[in-house]
């Protein structure tokens, strides 16, 4: 498969999911499809830019990193048109973007259900430790630095 085909296919998938997000965004969050269209198009363009950077420029760095970074840049105060960008993307609710992802993930998980059943309770235990340790780890560092700086 050539790179160009690969990019075209990625764009096709992203566009397809964008349509689903627009529909879900209307159904769940009362954001009109037409009004949300420009914001969705901006998000789509950011993704395409991120995927293309990963495909053609920095092949070893995951596209996720580029997509987030581009998203930050175009919405930075002072970046050309950032206020317009922010106003448009605000019409696309964050949670409306999560639903199609988890729908695909759910269908996909169906095939690994046995494995999930086996490891499920272990993962639940691990999650509690993960949440406690990040909280206490960060609090301990913050506490020491604040003490050291004489702020508390």
């Amino acid at each position: 498969m050539t790179k160009q085909q690969n990019l075209v296919e990625s764009i096709a998938v992203l566009a397809l999911v964008s349509v689903m997000v627009l529909i879900g965004n209307q159904a769940g969050f009362d954001n009109n499809i037409i009004e949300a269209l420009p914001g969705m198009a901006i998000l789509l363009l950011l993704c395409i830019a991120g995927v293309a950077t990963n495909m053609f420029v920095f092949k070893k760095i995951p596209s996720v990193l580029f997509v987030i970074t581009y998203g930050v840049i175009v919405s930075l105060p002072g970046f050309p048109l950032s206020e317009t960008v922010n106003a448009y993307v605000a019409k696309v609710h964050f949670l409306a973007l999560t639903t199609p992802i988890l729908a695909y993930a759910g269908v996909a998980i169906g095939k690994d259900l046995e494995t999930f059943k086996k490891s499920g309770w272990r993962i639940v235990i691990v999650s509690t430790f993960v949440m406690v340790s990040t909280y206490i780890g960060s609090a301990a560092i913050a506490q020491s630095v604040l003490k050291f700086m004489g702020d508390i």
Binding site: E9, N86, G106, S119
Partner: protein, 266 residues
Amino acid sequence: MNEAVKNVKLHLVVLALVVVSELIGIVTFKVGPGKLVLLPMLYAMFIGIFLGPKFFKIVKEKDMFQASTLVGLTLLLLMARYGTLVGPKFYEILKAGPALVLQEFGNIATLVIGVPIAMYLGLKREAIGAAHSIAREPNVALIGDIYGLDSAEGRGVMGVYICGTVFGTIFFGLMASFLAAFEIFHPYALAMASGVGSASMMTASVGSLSAAYPAMAEQIQAFGVASNTLSGIDGVYMSLILALPMSNKLYNYIYKLKYKTAPEAV
């Protein structure tokens, strides 16, 4: 991926899941100091799981496999939106003090504690996905990009992501009240620790702390929001550069101790 794009049935099934789930909407239950939150994405996933050949027989093996090849890509749209949530607050964060910046490294505690515990419980590569971070959206997307979400690492990160989404707010609300009551940490330190890259977890924690220390509420909220935005910015970089390599090293080390043989190469 070619075949997956053209699988019209799969996309229609997903669209139906999306519409049904969004129409049900967000359901919250008040539990103690926090809330149990059920989001449309959880219904979509839950129903999706049972569409397979063993239950409703709506999708076949082939559809399930093709769905798994698409998840990583669909996550990118969410990440683009995520970036635009962080951007507008970027300069405010630059002004944050050293305590606020340095406490971000406390997030590495997840892997130091989590990987050994996960492996003690018998998990293998799932441990990397589950414990390398607190498994919010950017971490899920990163693991999906590097290992694929249908890999062992992917199952780990998805598992913790889902637990965090359902129980995270209650958990953070309780944890904050509990630690505030013990008075080991200053409320400002706890406020800074509240931001882990999830607005709902941060809100729950900051809510509990403000209730415990009403006189400091304003400062607590400012620290919480700032640290949460900071985690949003550095989370994916921290995972890629620091947390994932460290998790892999720790994993290999414990693997040799536990199973007396080198782990199979990944």
